[in-house]
């Protein structure tokens, strides 16, 4: 069936009548420049994301790029990609970037920031990179209060290597290296490193966000805006965790994964600011 459908976001708005659709397109004139409300920011290249369909990395990239663009700091921002699914982040961000050894992105960020203290520097890391192999660098970078932004995408699994257990894998959660589910007796507990980070006096803004719903995406964007603003004011380390999904290795459809995230990840990794100006800290 060759039926034209126009979906505006509201399920009630699904139009199937051709004349009605054509009229609407004419009315909206979405092709006209003056009506453009959504486009690729200059801070993203036109490379196509290699991320799996429905994966939170794409949205997270986009948010960071939008904020850099809106703050007009493309010429002052340097990013550091990790080892993990985001290893190619530098293909997508149209800014100066480097790629760090596994776990060492915040040490690399420290080197850059100390030499260029007036530039904006951020690292972008997954849970294996930041909370397993790079734990030492993460903690000490935050403890020195390096004036950078650390973006921590936590989906409870090693994505790039094919679904192995991560430090943040939930109890009972299956992975290729915890095939019977994570058992605390032999595998330890999921690590809430963000709460640990918040106890360090030199961190300034520590928050946990998600990008699984439009409302959460908007909140996450605000967090990125704040973090870059605080960096400008030289306030100390800002740390943003994004609780994310991994449809491929969770072996779910994108929609199922978002539902699972809501019901399992977010009940353990609670969203919201853990340490923020004006908020009593976790200490």
């Amino acid at each position: 069936m060759n039926e034209k459908r126009l979906i505006t976001g509201d399920p009630a708005d699904v139009l199937t009548d051709e004349a009605q659709i054509d009229a609407m397109i004419a009315r909206e004139s979405i092709c006209n420049n003056e009506n453009l409300i959504y486009e690729r920011p200059e801070t993203l290249t036109d490379a196509i994301f290699h991320y799996c369909p429905g994966c939170g990395h794409g949205v997270t990239h986009r948010l960071i790029a939008e904020v850099i663009n809106e703050l007009d700091i493309q010429s002052e921002t340097i990013g550091i990609a990790p080892v993990g699914c985001a290893v190619f982040a530098y293909h997508y961000f149209n800014i100066d970037m480097t790629e760090a050894a596994h776990g060492r992105a915040t040490a690399v960020a420290t080197g850059i920031k100390r030499l260029l203290p007036d530039k904006y520097v951020f690292s972008y890391q997954g849970d294996g990179d930041l909370a397993a192999i790079g734990t030492g660098e993460t903690i000490h970078t935050c403890n020195r209060g390096e004036n950078i932004l650390i973006v921590f995408v936590n989906n409870g699994i090693y994505g790039m290597t094919g679904g192995q257990m991560a430090p943040t894998t939930l109890i009972g959660m299956k992975s290729t290296t915890s095939p019977y589910g994570r058992d605390a007796a032999t595998m330890g507990y999921p690590l809430r490193i963000t709460e640990m980070i918040a106890t360090l006096p030199a961190t300034y803004y520590v928050t946990r966000q998600a990008v699984n719903t439009p409302a959460n995406v908007r909140k996450a964007k605000k967090a990125f805006q704040k973090a870059f603003e605080y960096q400008k004011q030289k306030k100390g380390t800002c740390f943003i965790e994004i609780v994310s999904n991994c449809p491929s290795n969770w072996k779910m459809t994108p929609l199922q994964s978002n539902k699972w995230l809501e019901e399992n990840m977010l009940t353990f990794y609670k969203l919201g600011d853990i340490k923020a100006p004006g908020k009593e800290s976790a200490e």
Binding site: I78, I95, R104, A107, V108, G136
Partner: protein
């Protein structure tokens, strides 16, 4: 104005870093080189505003060096054997990403946690690539405190000339001994911006990306070919060595670093006995002076390689000589230093076939 001073090797090297306009030093305490970090912590930032940072580990250090080098500034670190082992992954990344930086290994006795006494057991690690993959460091081997100072300057120059990490392979005794040094004038901190550096992308240029990841094997091979081409050029242009009394020598001692000085003393003892001994000292361990040694082997009856290890550089000497004369070896290990008398005994035993 240059200045004469009596200084400990490690402190002289730190002073040299300040005078070279070093922009950042990242370090971690380890004997016998902690004085470098201490000296810079005391004077570095005060005098030139340079960054001096004590990291949480050598792993963090080398990645800070990577980050710092990404900005195109003069960045360095120093450590000693076990610490340098920890840095090897990062060094491989730095070499592949072709970032300039200066690394110093104040070699101590090993393997393992070993001892804090001087040794040369890290020759292979420094020269053959201690990390993964096909990469090369330019390796400078000072034999005096003066040379430690001079090699800091030379090291920074070579690092930027070749966009390559440079290693000064010193040892615990050079680091700890006091000698008279002539210090050069202070060079101002770097202000020019390297075109490849990460500084923030202005509208006027494409973004700069620094990576050692080339997932497409064709591209990865091309990177390798480019690196190898650079190494061949380095081998043509940067070989340095020194020789003493090799011209009319019957036999030659080959040694690097501090040991070469002990060999000179041994050669003097030999001369008193009427034995004509020259001393050949590679200053660059990579690129290694293969041709000079090959040429020398045509004029002498034999060579004796003296090292503070179980026999590492001797392999390169044998490659150079290629069987043209006999190449013998004498080594001390674990932090023991050979004496001139001991070397003379080995000359007599291994080269002359008995006491002269």
């Amino acid at each position: 104005m240059s200045e004469m001073k009596l200084m400990k090797g490690n402190e002289a090297m730190a002073e040299a870093a300040i005078r070279c306009g070093c922009d950042a030093y990242f370090g971690y305490p380890i004997t016998p080189q902690s004085e470098v970090l201490e000296y810079l912590a005391l004077y570095g930032e005060k005098r030139t505003g340079m960054v001096v940072l004590q990291a949480e580990s050598e792993v963090a250090v080398i990645n800070m060096v990577y980050g710092g080098a990404c900005t195109g500034k003069r960045v360095m670190t120093s450590s000693s054997s076990p610490g340098v082992s920890l840095m090897q992954e990062g060094i491989s990344y730095i070499a592949t990403a072709e970032l300039p930086c200066l690394l110093v290994n104040v070699n101590r006795g090993g393997p393992g946690l070993g001892t804090i006494q001087p040794a040369q057991g890290d020759y292979f690690q420094a020269v053959k690539g201690g990390g993964h993959g096909d990469y090369k460091l330019i390796v400078l081997a000072p034999s005096t405190v003066q040379e430690m100072v001079d090699h800091v300057k030379l090291g920074f120059e070579l690092a930027f000339k070749w966009k390559n990490p440079i290693m000064i392979l010193s040892d615990g005794s050079l680091g700890q001994m006091m000698e008279k040094v002539e210090l050069y004038d202070e060079i101002p901190r770097k202000t020019e911006v390297e075109s490849w550096a990460l500084t923030g992308k202005p509208k006027t240029r494409e973004r700069n990306v620094i990576t050692s990841l080339f997932i497409d094997p064709k591209e990865m091979e091309e990177v390798n070919i480019r690196l190898q081409k650079k190494y061949r050029e380095i081998e043509k242009e940067e070989i340095r060595y020194a020789s003493y009394n090799c011209e009319d020598a019957d036999y030659v001692l080959v040694a690097f670093g501090l040991v070469a000085r002990i060999c000179k003393k041994a050669a003097q003892l030999a001369a008193e006995k009427g034995i004509k001994i020259g001393v050949f000292r590679p200053i660059t361990l990579y690129p290694f002076p293969y041709q000079a040694l090959s040429d020398l082997s045509e004029k002498v009856k034999g060579m004796l390689v003296i090292e503070m290890n179980a026999g590492q550089m001797v392999e390169d000497v044998r490659l150079a000589v290629n069987g043209k004369v006999k190449v013998e070896f004498h080594g001390r290990m674990g932090g023991m230093v050979p004496s001139p008398e001991e070397i003379l005994e080995n000359i007599e035993e291994k080269l002359l076939g008995g006491k002269a």
